[in-house]
Symmetry: C2
Subunit: 284 residues, 2 copies
């Protein structure tokens, strides 16, 4: 089962990611329709040619039209949607998502889903500091990683289809990963970084800092403009892994405080050399 232009693709939820998926797939001549709750959003997507058709009502016809359904919803809404409407799926439908946590969430979803519909989880590692379909942009996939996180319940065919989808969307890299390893890594590279940015932005109440900052502070706080509804949900959903990463970070940070207090220049230089060497691996 490969991802090809014979498949009918339904996107549920036209936010920044759903909208960007629609844009990328429509531009590559796939058949793309959407279901979203806002009439304005739907009108925007239709008038900007992001989708060929769409509806704000979840109808059996709209859902059964699809061979592949991509969910661009917050985790708990995605789950509620499937609980409410899964009887509408056509047998053999493959569903996938953009959800930023996997682990227990995926286990619950696969447990509650009909036997004749397959959920292959994926996590596109990209975004913007703004949300909504009007910010949809298929360029966000360039240079980004697409994580496919199958479980033992997934078929080889659905995994392949989901990998294909990542490439079609234009991601820089498609990586397959276990759901629990996903949550551990995301806890570190994504959630921890957001926790740091929020903390840095709020730990000092001085006014007019923008007059004195260099690029470093701007870089470290770019993601401090944050969607509070989504991220608070993601933090709670990945609580165990995230708290472990936060603790490791905080302990290492305290070690640096101790070095500075002791004026341990050799220790600091060793740490900085290590930091420099590790960071160089990230230069593309």
């Amino acid at each position: 089962m490969t991802f090809n232009r014979d498949k009918n693709i339904l996107i549920v939820g036209l936010g920044l990611l759903g909208g960007s998926y629609a844009m990328a797939l429509t531009r590559k001549d796939y058949h793309v329709r959407a279901i979203c709750h806002s009439a304005d959003t739907l009108e925007y997507a239709l008038s900007h040619g992001l989708i060929e058709a769409g509806t704000t009502e979840v109808t059996p016809e709209a859902v059964a039209w699809a061979d592949v359904v991509i969910f661009g919803l917050y985790p708990h809404i995605f789950k509620e949607w499937v609980e409410s409407y899964q009887s509408y799926f056509k047998p053999g439908t493959v569903i996938t998502d953009v959800t930023g946590i996997k682990g227990d969430f995926v286990r619950e979803m696969q447990a509650l889903l009909r036997e004749d519909v397959e959920y292959i989880p994926a996590h596109p590692m990209c975004g913007k500091e703004v949300s909504g379909v009007e910010n949809a942009d298929d360029k966000i996939f360039n240079g980004a990683n697409y994580l496919v996180t199958p479980t033992e319940k997934n078929t080889k065919e659905a995994i392949e289809l989901c990998r294909d989808l990542g490439w079609v969307l234009g991601f820089y890299r498609v990586v397959e990963m276990d759901i629990d390893k996903h949550d551990e890594i995301i806890g570190f590279v994504s959630q921890l970084t957001h926790c740091i940015a929020i903390t840095l932005m709020t730990c000092n109440t001085k006014e007019h800092l923008e007059k004195y900052t260099g690029d470093s502070f701007r870089d470290l706080t770019r993601i401090a403009k944050i969607n509070d509804v989504m991220w608070s949900e993601l933090f709670v959903a990945n609580k165990v892994a995230l708290l472990e990463q936060m603790k490791e970070f905080r302990e290492q940070f305290e070690r640096l405080e101790i070095m500075i207090a002791a004026e341990d220049v050799d220790g600091m230089r060793q740490l900085m050399k290590n930091s420099t060497a590790r960071r160089k691996l990230f230069d593309k």
Copy 2:
């Protein structure tokens, strides 16, 4: 006393910053010479037209030629240089610098300097993750802040000259600031951010993280490639202010850990809204 093309400008130290100063000033038709310890560096600066003349030997003639001397050296080398060679300055010379810490360092320097030479401290808030004259680039000043940090020992004329220099170099903003306030703010916006980046880059020893990261992690660790000689010196020199900022950051970070552990979604959302509002002030 304004900064104009009649002044002879001597740059001591042709690293990234010294080289970039030379480039900017020479391109605007100022008379710029340099003293640096490496013959290769000097040759580079001459052959690339960054300076009109230069020497690797600190001679009375080379120093007395200058009306304005700009030091682009590490703090302790700057201090040693002045201790060794200040007898060479012509009376009335104004000296300034690029040093990233002020406070006690400035007090010591002004105390040891000849009475007929004036040191007006400045801190250009810009840089790159690479060093050396071959990376000199006068575009680093665009969009950046130039901090002038006078003390009660400085004259109105020297302060004005130093402010003019900031504008001539092409900085986005020239700000005047008390030396102790400087160290407190720099401890926060610059040194703390580097401490965070180093910590994030070294707190997790997993391999191949570069395959899984999104832009957030890259942003937060750009400055984790760091000049260990310079930054360890700056951290020690600003130990008191920096440790205070680190402690505030760490305590706020722990508060977020506690919120996540307690699944305090309202608390997190409030924090994120605050973070978002504060960060918006930084959008240029």
